[in-house]
Structure formats: structure tokens, C-alpha cells
Amino acid sequence: MTTLLLIEQVLNGLQSGIMLFLMAAGLTLIFGVMGLINLAHGSLYMIGAFAAAAVAGATGSFVLALGASLIAAAAAGAIIEIGVIRRLYDRDHLDQVLATFALILILSEGTRWAFGSFPLYLDVPAALAGPVTLPGGIQYPAYRLLIIGVGLAIAVGLFLLIARTRIGIQIRAGESDREMIAALGVDISKLYTLIFALGAALAGLAGALVGAIQSVQVGMGEPVLILAFVVIVIGGIGSIKGALVGALLVGLTDTLGGVLLPLALSGMMNASAATSVGSALASMSIYILMAVVLIFRPTGLYGTA
């Protein structure tokens, strides 16, 4: 294996990790502040992707498509929060799991009803379709670099929002004592709707950005949702920093495992067996990573008990 190929795979891992971070950040914020486990977060990812594909199809503009994904997912998030989620904050986790499972059924089948069962395609904008040459002569798709850049910018923005702004202070206060900040005159239900919509918008944006690389279809959100769960179990629930570290670990393990394991095994067995055993092991690698983290840190890398 050449170094160039390895670097390319590391970049791919970073790219998928950064997209996982956008999903995991919203999930972990919603759990940290509202104490809610939201299975329907993957549906918001799907809504973002479908909104982007529909707008790109109608206008041809990728920037408008990204804007649409943010607005559609945030709006869907706000509606869901006000209509259903709000009633679940005081319930146990089982009720939350079931109600959000029901939301997945409704949102997925609703999308299938509106857009049909066939996947939609969202094209990468022409200006970004080609590769760029990185220092050291590495050819890498410009669009994937853009994704890494946008994701990192959002991560920085999110840290600043939470550390430096008034809303951020309220979010952190909400995490530690919700009765107290309500008593101090903060409209807690508005704050919750805002946080939920923010998490939804991040998921929707991730859906649109990834939708341009993969296809846009019903059910695209749930595999990503479960990966995002693995991320926040590794990082520690409620911690944005943990979400970032966990997302990059999962992204890199998943991508590099898929390439390196078959290669590593090819020394021990014939090529086709190495490929099949390697890819089967690679599909398990992130869960093994999660298990190892859990053995040593049951509350995740940055979690508090």
C-alpha cells in the first residue's frame, strides 16, 4: 500500500467522521439538555437530504439546496418538538424510544409517499466536481475537502456558540439545572424548541452534504443514527467535545478498517478469503472499539457519571 492511498483514506475517514459529528452533536445536545433519546434524529437527516435534492432539482443551485436542507430540517424539528417531543421530557426512556420510533415510521413512510421509493440524486456542483492537488501530489475530490472544511467550521461555531454567547450560557445552565434556569426567568420551553431545531438543522445539513456523495433515499438516516449513537457512547453523552473525538475515531476506524484489514489478512490467507474475512471484521471494528472504550470508561471518554 502506498502512502498516497493511505493519506487519501485518512481524509475519507475524516470526512465521514466530521459528518457523523454533525449528527452526534445534535443528539448529544438534546440528550444533555432535555434528557431525551431521539431515535427520529435520522429522519431529520433524511428530510434535509430530500429538501436539498428537491430544491436542487427545481433551481439547479447547490447553495440554495443547502439552505433548503437547513430550513426544512429545522422547521420539521421545531414542529416535531412542539407537537410530540415536548410531552416526552418527563417520561421514561422506554416511552421516548417508542414515540420516536413511531415518528420514524410516520416520517419515513410519509417521505416515501411524497417522493416515491426510488432514490433521488443530488449532484455535486460543477465547480467542485473535480479533484484538487494537495501538497505532496495527492489528488483528492474538491467536494469532499469542502465537506471537511464546512464540518470543521460548524464544529468551531458550535463551540463558540456554547462557550461565548448568551444562548450558550442558557444551554449549559439547562444541562446542569433546568428548574433553576426556569426560575431565573428563561423561557425553558422556547429554549428547548430552539435546541431541538438547532440539532435538527445540523442533521439536515449533514444529510444534504452526504446526499450529494451517496443517493438520497428513504431509510438513509437510520444507519447514520446508529453510528452517531456509537459516537456518543464512545465520547460520553452530553459532551460536544466527546462527540467530536468520538466521531473522528469512528470515522477513521470504519474507513481505515475497511481498507487495512483485508490487506493485513492477505498475508495469511488467499486473496478472496482475505477480502471476505477482512470486510466482515471491518464491519465489526467500530463496535469492537465501542466495547473496548466501555470496558475501561463505562460513561465514555468525556462523560460524567
Partner: protein, 327 residues
């Protein structure tokens, strides 16, 4: 509780009644539907021990369902091709015998439940939900990427496996077998709930500290419950695979795990017959609604949302009043 006992008896007799009526009317498809309901009920009865009594919200019970299914698929496919399964250390002959397959399914899924339980039960609450979900996904992707037994396409078994004294290809005889298994498991589960173990497990759900003060370990209680629970769901998986004569990675899918929880809550959580009522209702709804609309899952979602938000006792709760409630 009196009304619940009457209701339980009625529910319990309804399934064979439907099957016998269908036999008289010569509607084998309805018998298959009743068999399907009984098998899904068995899977959810297994989960109910961990979830209803133990308070362990496992979103990964499809792992055991799938393992049971593949235990049947792998053994039967080796019998079908007359090629023994070579595991390196020892060689296993394939088999078409249901009792052997059932025992294997129970053993394999209990072992998996032990390993998953040892890890997942170190945590609680929302971590536990996410971890069980993640392990489910691990098995799902493993079976998809492992090519030996059909990979993503699954594995077909041409002839249903055999049980001494029964013609399993006859729908009503197969239903009888499945129903007998369900009845036996319900009987054992009912005993287990009232046993010292069941009482301690229920108390560990409500107040773990109390269990510890009398010298019992909540972790061990939960682990034992999780293993038994996984084993029963695994047995249901073997039956489900035999019903369809087909196994595929979708048996491991997270939707499957979600549906098991749905059965329990539809029927009424914390009740022995809750999963049975829920599974029958689900199969009935699936059959009726999918005839009405291609998008029947929207209706199912709406019903489920209504039950969770407004009717927490499920069907049994609505009909029999409040009993032992999930706390």
C-alpha cells in the same frame, strides 16, 4: 386482576380458535398468519422478561432472533448439502431435526446474550439502549458482509425441518407445535415472575439499592434475566426461520428489535400476556392495513404514538384496568 385472568384465558384460546376455524374453512394462509403471530409473540415474551420485569430497555433483541434463525439456517443448509460444518477443532453434522435445532438456537443466543449482557449491563438507562442497538447493528452488518451463508441475499431452506411424530409441512400441525412451545414458555415465565428470582428482579428495577442491602447483586439478577430473555427470543428466531423456510440479515435489523418493544407496549407492559396480545394485534393490523394502503406504516406509527402519549397501559390496561404497572 380477576378481569385480567379472564382476559388472558380468552386471548390464549383465541389463537388456536382462529387456527382451527381457518382449518375448517380451508384457509391455510390464515393458519400461517396465526403461526406468525404466535412466533412473534414468543420473541416478545422473551424480551418482556428483560424489559417488563427487569426494566432493561433492550433495542437489540433482534440479535438473538437472528442468531436463532441462522442456527436453523446453517444446520439445515449443511444437512441439505450433505456437507458437514468444519469448525477446525471439531466437525458438526448438519441436521433437519427441530429439537436439535431448537437446542442449538437456545444455546447460541444465550451465549450471545451473556457476552452482550456482560458489556451492556455495566451501563444503564440511555447508554444501555444505545449499546444494545449498536450490537444489533454489528450482527446485521456482519451477516451482510459474511458471504458463506448467502450474505445480503439470505439463505433458503427447501423443506421445513422435521419433528418426531408431526408432519411439519401441514400448516395446522406446525401451528400446534409452535403454540405448544409458546404455552410452555408462558407457563415457565409465569412461574419465574412469581419465583424469588422474579421478585428480586422486579425489585431491582424499582429500587436497586434495596436489593443490594439484602445481599443480592442487581447486576447478576439482570444478567441472568437478559440471558434467559435472549434464549427465548432465539428459540422464536429458529421457529420464525422454519415458518418462512428462509433466513436473511433483516432478522437482525434494528426495526425488528423496535417491533418487539412495540408488541409489548401495544399489549400492555409488565403483563405476562401483554406481548401475546400486542403481537396478535400487530399481525392483524399489518394484514388489514397493508390491504388498505401501501403506506400502512404511517397508520401504525400514528396508533403507536397515540398509545404511548395517551394510553400507557396498552390494550390489556384499557380492558382490565390498572394492574402491576411499569415503574
Amino acid at each position: 386482576m380477576q378481569r385480567e385472568a379472564v382476559l388472558n384465558t380468552l386471548v390464549f384460546l383465541a389463537l388456536p380458535a382462529v387456527a382451527v376455524i381457518a382449518l375448517v374453512l380451508d384457509e391455510p394462509f390464515t393458519i400461517t398468519l396465526a403461526t406468525r403471530a404466535a412466533i412473534l409473540a414468543l420473541a416478545a415474551v422473551g424480551l418482556n422478561l428483560a424489559l417488563g420485569l427487569g426494566g432493561l430497555v433492550s433495542l437489540g433483541h433482534a440479535v438473538f432472533f437472528g442468531l436463532g434463525g441462522y442456527a436453523m439456517g446453517i444446520l439445515a443448509s449443511h444437512a441439505q448439502s450433505y456437507a458437514p460444518l468444519d469448525l477446525g477443532l471439531f466437525v458438526i453434522e448438519g441436521t433437519k431435526s427441530m429439537p436439535v435445532i431448537w437446542l442449538t438456537a437456545v444455546f447460541v443466543s444465550a451465549l450471545a446474550a451473556l457476552l452482550i449482557g456482560l458489556l451492556a449491563l455495566r451501563t444503564a438507562g440511555v447508554y444501555f439502549i444505545m449499546i444494545t442497538l449498536a450490537f444489533g447493528q454489528m450482527f446485521y452488518y456482519f451477516t451482510i458482509s459474511w458471504p458463506a451463508y448467502g450474505g445480503e441475499d439470505g439463505l433458503s431452506i427447501y423443506v421445513r425441518n422435521s419433528f418426531p411424530g408431526f408432519n411439519t409441512l401441514d400448516p395446522i400441525q406446525f401451528f400446534g407445535l409452535v403454540f405448544a412451545v409458546l404455552a410452555a414458555v408462558l407457563l415457565i415465565m409465569g412461574r419465574l415472575e412469581r419465583s424469588p428470582f422474579g421478585l428480586a428482579l422486579g425489585t431491582a428495577r424499582q429500587n436497586a439499592a434495596r436489593v443490594e442491602t439484602v445481599g443480592l447483586s442487581p447486576f447478576h439478577l439482570r444478567l441472568v434475566a437478559f440471558v434467559i430473555s435472549g434464549a427465548v427470543t432465539g428459540l422464536a428466531g429458529a421457529l420464525f426461520a422454519d415458518l418462512n423456510r428462509f433466513v436473511s440479515p433483516t432478522m437482525f435489523s434494528w426495526q425488528m428489535s423496535g417491533e418487539f418493544i412495540v408488541f409489548i407496549v401495544l399489549g400492555g407492559i409488565g403483563r405476562l400476556f401483554g406481548p401475546v396480545v400486542g403481537a396478535c394485534l400487530f399481525v392483524l393490523l399489518e394484514h388489514l392495513l397493508s390491504g388498505v394502503s401501501e403506506f400502512w406504516l404511517i397508520y401504525l406509527g400514528a396508533i403507536l404514538l397515540f398509545v404511548v402519549l395517551f394510553a400507557r397501559g396498552g390494550v390489556i390496561g384499557a380492558l382490565a384496568g390498572r394492574g402491576a404497572h411499569h415503574g
